[in-house]
Symmetry: C2
């Protein structure tokens, strides 16, 4: 089964208490694809500038990510984000965000990308997400992310896009903000009323929760003691989640969604153990499976 992700492709600069980097391969679609490609063939859709070259493509190709729909904008610069993490690595400040080639991005998917069985709409402008969703009319399962910015400045467009997907994946604070409801369970049910049949709340260091009309599943985060730099952890979670679902697209039921969350959790735990996505470059599937097994053992009673 095939998986397409649309989202940002970026260079990130980060400062952390244990060191800093001024040019990391990043962006929601990149973090996502480096995880999902462990589990399913993944096509990545997004724009890059002249500064995105052979080295970056080589990283994606080494993991088997299909980059035919990466759009090179001649004369443009790749999306850039800079941030500083606190001693409590769960806290960060954004220092700089340069949209660059993203400012005029109009996704046009090739037939191979738009024909995917499973689609993930990474965190970009809701109108663009809707445009991509409408191009992928054969997808059996569509999930999306978003962020506080779009909840604030493109609320109606965001609600419309949410109505077109099967699954909404959001930080729990954003889910509460979206629905103006401080209780997670009520917030999730308000989000279900917008259209999706599945809502997944990302809870950072605490883990994640899945809420459906008649069900609940909660999973703690992998107990990582060596967090180097957590940028993209949520995107990596979505990558592991959707990669697993793409590999099991014949029957995306409650059991598959639960196991998919464990794959997302395991992938995210590797992502935070290095700068950028570096820890994912050389990862093999057996390492992911081992953490999924550990999560299974550490959540049973």
């Amino acid at each position: 089964m095939t998986l397409t992700v649309v989202g940002s492709i970026a260079f990130d600069a980060v400062e952390t208490p244990s060191g800093s980097r001024d040019r990391l391969l990043g962006g929601s679609a990149v973090h996502f694809a480096l995880a999902s490609s462990q589990l399913a063939d993944t096509r990545i859709v997004g724009p890059v500038g002249d500064d995105f070259g052979a080295e970056e493509y080589a990283i994606l190709h080494a993991r088997g990510v299909i980059t035919d729909d990466v759009e090179h904008v001649p004369g443009g610069k790749t999306f850039f984000w800079a941030g500083r993490y606190h001693r409590d690595i769960n806290q960060r400040d954004t220092l700089q965000t340069d949209l660059n080639v993203f400012e005029d991005f109009e996704p046009k998917l090739s037939p191979d990308s738009s024909g995917a069985d499973v689609l993930f709409l990474g965190n970009i402008q809701p109108e663009l997400q809707r445009d991509v969703r409408e191009q992928c009319d054969r997808a059996r399962f569509v999930a999306m992310d978003s962020m506080n910015l779009w909840i604030d400045i493109a609320h109606e467009a965001l609600l419309q896009t949410i109505s077109l997907v099967d699954c909404l994946v959001l930080n729990d604070s954003e889910l509460k903000q979206l629905t103006d409801e401080p209780n997670l369970i009520r917030a999730a049910h308000k989000a279900l009323d917008l259209g999706p049949r599945v809502v997944i709340a990302k809870q950072g260091e605490y883990g994640s929760a899945m809420i459906t009309a008649d069900g609940f599943f909660g999973l703690s985060a992998y107990p990582t003691s060596d967090i180097v730099e957590p940028t993209g952890a949520g995107d990596t979670f979505a990558g592991g989640l959707m990669g697993y679902l793409a590999a099991h697209a014949d029957e995306i039921d409650d059991a598959a969604l639960r196991r998919a969350m464990a794959y997302g959790t395991a992938c995210a735990s590797f992502n935070v153990e290095g700068f950028g996505s570096e820890r994912l470059y050389e990862l093999d599937r057996a390492e992911i499976d081992a953490r999924v097994a550990m999560l299974e053992a550490s959540s049973r009673f």
Copy 2:
């Protein structure tokens, strides 16, 4: 098997977005005992004033709580706490704390109380906790709570008390503060180095986690959408936890501790569904068992 809890017995006044109460039966030992008594015979140790009377004793006795070691201080007033909850019920401000009879409390346990198999040291001054712990020299399993106040003003005494218990139960933020370590797993291992063989982090709306030298267990909170007033949720969690352990004191192993956390989680979920502990007054064991079963189903994959 018998269980003794020492802690505060209080009157609470609370304001919430959905209403307010000016005199609720509260205090750490009360919330604890109203939960633990569902699972094991519970003796409660703590001081009260002249304002604590037949009505309050009747509530405890209706649940079978043994009050022989409740110390009446003639002319004194019972501990009083007042707080205001925000629209996000996870946020609160303390409005007033009157120690009253707690100021001169010196716990003296009867032979029946000091002979308990299982002991819980609720959140009181660490020197008093140590004093009680030393009186209960036959206890097979001893756990304790604490709070940011004692971490700040009685740090050394707190470390000494921690060295004398089997299990430390703390809010995750307090665990991080105690050990000056922002990563939960590292913080828990630093706490294990102080002496206990089990550290349990209470994570509020997210759930709880247990860390031992070579193990990890994470459990989401029960998915409650009707939170009325959460005062004492952590104490109720500890009550369910320790009640279960007292009923299984012959073998307090990893499996028993995990199931005990589920009982604590279930009890806490009832506590937050009403003002004070009111929801626990008429609760029966079958309702608790049903939520434990639901937690089991909602954490498996």
